[in-house]
Symmetry: C2
Subunit: 331 residues, 2 copies
């Protein structure tokens, strides 16, 4: 889907300045990740394809940027109250890791279906993990209850200007490393990642295209923008667990509506093949949420010859069981 | 094995200055690769463990550095004659890639047992591939024959000061990113990689330890240093095809003898498990030659608490078949 002309927001919730400040704030916790040129994907598509390897954050996923920015902005007093988060996995790992680095602890509410490796990751960083419900909003409500009883600071996975500004630092790095970028392709779950990156990219290089990717089975942002209002899905079951959000928030919806040029939808099989493409052509382990952008590149997007495309490889936290299954299915 | 005190070389074949010049020369072809801190490997060992990710060179292996330095030092006239190389795979891919980037072509002599993906890689970069013999020295002689009949420039995989200086640029980057590094662990095939890196490291930080790793079944540098002279092995069959060299050359032997503090030997099973460790703990695909350094860290080396250790992850060009087999064996 390609969106029509959009009216500018009068008061954007996140500014370029906030993202630039976040960059300095998170320097000692999050990595400046490599932008990797892939000769193989470039040869396959005729474009110049680069991977922004967020899978090489210390916790193998971009979420560390937003969590670090949010938590480092809190007062010492607030930080000492500890944190509570609701997460399918990666946001919880990020909050746990940042909490541990700062000498405090987090409580994370995860779905009953959470990937075992992700839960272990949180526990390694000292978090208390509680399994609750299947959907993002169910565990969000449970986390808010915990906040009320314990006084811990609630850290939202995407609907927070500080989280969005943290994720936006990826956009600054892309522009620095590839000033003449034409197109950035980003997976969408709750929309925090694309809201941050698109704010940076559209501020610094308005002509660059922002393309979002969602699973066909979890297309809440696509539906919301098409309907012109936040649209809640009844079910969102995808192998890309990080993208299975039932609805965006007002901040991410408004920002994406304004900045995103189009959203591509990919099937479950395409996502699996996307994970395989990353392994075969780029020797890179990606989680299904990032496999979705490889699928979008090869199956849904139509690259022009010489177009400079960045795939935002959001993370590498895949279960070894799923990885093995994909290798034997497509290898 | 820990080596005894060594007498300094009167005329080192490669100087720090040559490596610094190589750095500038290869900037447009080889990448400055990331140094990735691994929280998981650090927690496992009690040390601070970093990965130097040469698997994120454009061709997924460090060999591009030496090949680029060697070829870019040639005159335009010499370059136009084309190149010939003997290689188990990675050096051939490097020469093919650099040749293509400069608008010329290469002929590569590979073993009859070469990994299929590696041969395809060379052909994609326009190389003519000839399969010949099993051992490095057999195909070396065949490549020298081709040189005589065609006039192409012969590019040795390790026994050449320009190749060694190119690989040495890794050492400069390690010191820049981690000035207080204590220990660098490097796989040894012909010895070009460790000769270059150790020259840079020992020049800039003499107190840092240089540890080499060889397969038990291909321990030619270990045997040579222990015997005080180049020692030729009769057989070297290892899953780590890039390390299966029958003997070092005079340059790499003399340099390693002078700079390397000890060489650790790892079994075939340990190398396989090392590949699995890289996937499980670091979400990183490595070829068996690089799996050997993960095995050395967990099974052979004894890290001190807080020791700052860099594993040189030399490459990621593993066959999908072997990768799948290792995942289902250890996963």
């Amino acid at each position: 889907m390609r969106f029509k002309s959009r009216s500018p927001m009068s008061n954007p919730p996140v500014t370029l300045g906030a993202i630039q400040e976040a960059r300095v704030r998170i320097l000692n916790i999050a990595y400046r990740t490599p932008l990797y040129f892939s000769p193989r994907l470039s040869a396959l598509t005729g474009a110049h394809v680069y991977l922004k390897l967020e899978s090489y954050q210390p916790i193998h996923v971009f979420k560390i940027r937003g969590a670090a920015n949010k938590i480092l902005k809190l007062s010492t007093n607030d930080r000492s109250r500890g944190f509570v988060a609701a997460s399918s996995g990666n946001h919880g790992i990020a909050v746990s890791y940042v909490a541990k680095r700062l000498g405090t602890t987090a409580t994370v509410v995860v779905p009953t279906t959470a990937v075992e490796e992700k839960v272990k990751g949180m526990e390694e960083y000292g978090a208390k993990v509680e399994r609750y419900g299947r959907f993002h909003d169910e565990r969000l409500n449970r986390a808010l209850e915990i906040q009320k009883t314990t006084g811990a600071v609630f850290i939202h996975p995407f609907e927070d200007p500080d989280i969005i500004a943290g994720q936006g630092t990826i956009g600054l790095e892309i522009i620095e490393d590839l000033p003449d970028v034409n197109t950035v392709i980003v997976p969408i779950g709750g929309g925090g990642l694309i809201s941050g990156i698109s704010t940076a990219i559209k501020s610094l290089k308005p002509a660059a295209k922002m393309i979002g990717v969602e699973p066909e089975r979890a297309s809440s942002m696509y539906q919301s923008i098409r309907n012109g209002q936040i649209t809640r899905l009844t079910d969102t079951t995808s192998i890309a667990d990080g993208l299975a959000t039932r609805e965006p928030g007002p901040l991410t919806f408004e920002t994406a509506k304004r900045n995103v040029d189009s959203i591509l939808l990919v099937s479950e099989t395409q996502i699996e093949r996307g994970v395989f493409t990353a392994i075969k052509e780029c020797h890179t382990i990606v989680e299904p949420s990032a496999g979705a952008v490889f699928a979008a590149l090869t199956d849904a997007y139509r690259p022009k010859a010489g177009e400079k495309i960045v795939l935002v490889v959001s993370g590498g936290n895949i279960s070894l069981k799923i990885l093995g299954a994909i290798l034997s299915k497509y290898g």
